[in-house]
């Protein structure tokens, strides 16, 4: 119980109730609109942020991870125009955009609620005073029935309130997600990037890997780094041009 309480507190302090609020904030802080381009631009920041949520409840983390996976798809697509996405992957992207737009709409409407709630209230009349004293029981009230009703009321109370019911089929850890995405990219590009990333063991290191990977792809796109691949499935050789080191630091 204590753990859950602490975790919920973490959500409050970071200020993001869920993945969409975080994503929307990243997009809006750059004064962008919701589309594939803006989503690909905020992917790194999003992943870094999710990584800092490390001590959240797993069920809450999984909400963020599911979205991270789609963002990485979008990012990869924008960096690698030749990358062929499956229909399922394409619809995941469209779906994320649509959900984000809906979330944005209701978040805006929520401002009306925030500013009007409790301001000009309508009141129902007060409880009328009971003038005539009556006692009108009902045959359904017996010792046994009351005991049953009371016990059932207690048993009905939901127990595991944090169990994610809707996203349960999609629950994966950030490590699994990154492994999956790495494999996906590797097979698409027929490459790996062990040398670039080193041996990542902990979750934090793996996040660095994926962020680094994305940064590298960005550099490739900009023509700053040449990635040479001698044979399929062999490590990438990254040829650094002048002043590349600085750029890598900036990008990561």
């Amino acid at each position: 119980m204590d753990e859950v309480l602490e975790n919920s507190y973490t959500v409050k302090t970071t200020g993001f109730e869920g993945p969409f609020a975080l994503l929307l904030n990243l997009i809006e802080s750059r004064k962008l609109f919701i589309n594939e381009i803006s989503l690909s631009q905020v992917t790194e920041d999003y992943i870094k942020h999710v990584n800092s949520l490390g001590n959240l409840h797993p069920a809450e983390i999984s909400n963020f991870v599911v979205v991270a996976a789609t963002l990485i798809l979008i990012k990869s697509k924008s960096l690698l125009p030749n990358l062929n996405l499956t229909n399922e992957e394409e619809s995941e992207i469209v779906d994320l955009e649509e959900r984000l737009r809906l979330f944005e709409l209701y978040s805006k409407l929520a401002l009306h609620i925030k500013s009007n709630f409790g301001k000009n209230m309508i009141f129902a009349p007060l409880e009328r005073k009971n003038t005539t004293l009556v006692f009108l029981p009902d045959d359904q009230i017996t010792k046994e029935s009351m005991m049953t009703f009371a016990s059932e009321a207690v048993n009905k109370i939901p127990k595991k309130v944090f169990l994610p019911e809707v996203e349960v089929k999609k629950v994966i850890s950030i490590e699994e997600m990154i492994d999956k995405m790495t494999l996906r990219m590797q097979s698409a590009l027929q490459m790996n990037f062990k040398e670039f990333a080193g041996t990542a063991v902990t979750k934090e290191e793996r996040v660095v890997v994926i962020v680094g990977f994305l940064a590298m792809l960005e550099l490739v796109r900009q023509g700053i780094v040449n990635v040479v691949q001698n044979n399929n499935f062999e490590d990438l050789i990254i040829e650094r041009q002048e002043a590349v080191e600085e750029i890598i630091i900036e990008n990561i």
């Binding site: 009141f123 009328r128 009556v134 009108l136 009902d138 009230i141 010792k143 009351m146 009371a150 016990s151």
Partner: protein, 184 residues
């Protein structure tokens, strides 16, 4: 809003008689102005379903006398109708957690119970009193009539009282903690 509209809102909200002096103090005008506005209100209420009842220096709103028969039937029907499942459930919680607040009942049931509690009070099954631990709060208890109707002298004589009472109390503690935490 003019004075008679304000008077109507206050009288409707209170639902009981209120003195002209009190109305003047609430609305921060003279008693003369109140009397004048009450006259206007009376005119406004002609051909309406509610009327202004006056007695010496007190006034209240009431239903039109022509509706008396219908209202009386409505009242009887309301009192004699069978208790719903939700009413029985609420009643059982009041019995097994003697001296329970509305919000505690709401926590257990997962829904707001105010209308049900009102109806149970009207039927004389439960009674509202001020919480001795916190005078701003109200708590509900079963009436003596209810206990004797059930054939017990006190709540402790109810079947499995100790067990059920303890589990209700511990659930209330847990739920309050969680809900306060979620809904900051």
């Amino acid at each position: 809003m003019n004075l008679e509209q304000k008077l109507e809102a206050i009288l409707f909200f209170k639902g009981e008689s209120i003195s002209i002096k009190k109305l003047a103090s609430i609305l921060e005008v003279s008693e003369e102005e109140i009397k004048e506005a009450l006259q206007n209100l009376k005119t406004n209420l002609e051909n309406r379903g509610i009327i202004l009842l006056e007695k010496e220096n007190e006034v209240m709103l009431g239903t039109h006398p022509e509706m008396a028969g219908l209202i009386e039937n409505l009242q009887k029907e309301e009192l004699n109708k069978e208790l719903s499942k939700s009413s029985l459930e609420t009643l059982s919680i009041v019995l097994y957690k003697n001296g329970v607040s509305r919000s505690e009942i709401d926590y257990i049931r997962g829904v707001n119970s105010s209308f049900i509690l009102r109806a149970l009070s009207v039927r004389g099954l439960i009674e509202k009193s001020v919480d001795p631990k916190d005078t701003r709060k109200n708590i509900y208890k079963p009436t003596f009539e209810l206990l004797s109707f059930m054939g017990v002298r006190n709540v402790e004589e109810l079947p499995d009282y100790a067990t059920v009472n303890t589990s209700i109390s511990s659930e209330i503690e847990k739920l309050e903690e969680e809900i306060n935490n979620e809904d900051q």
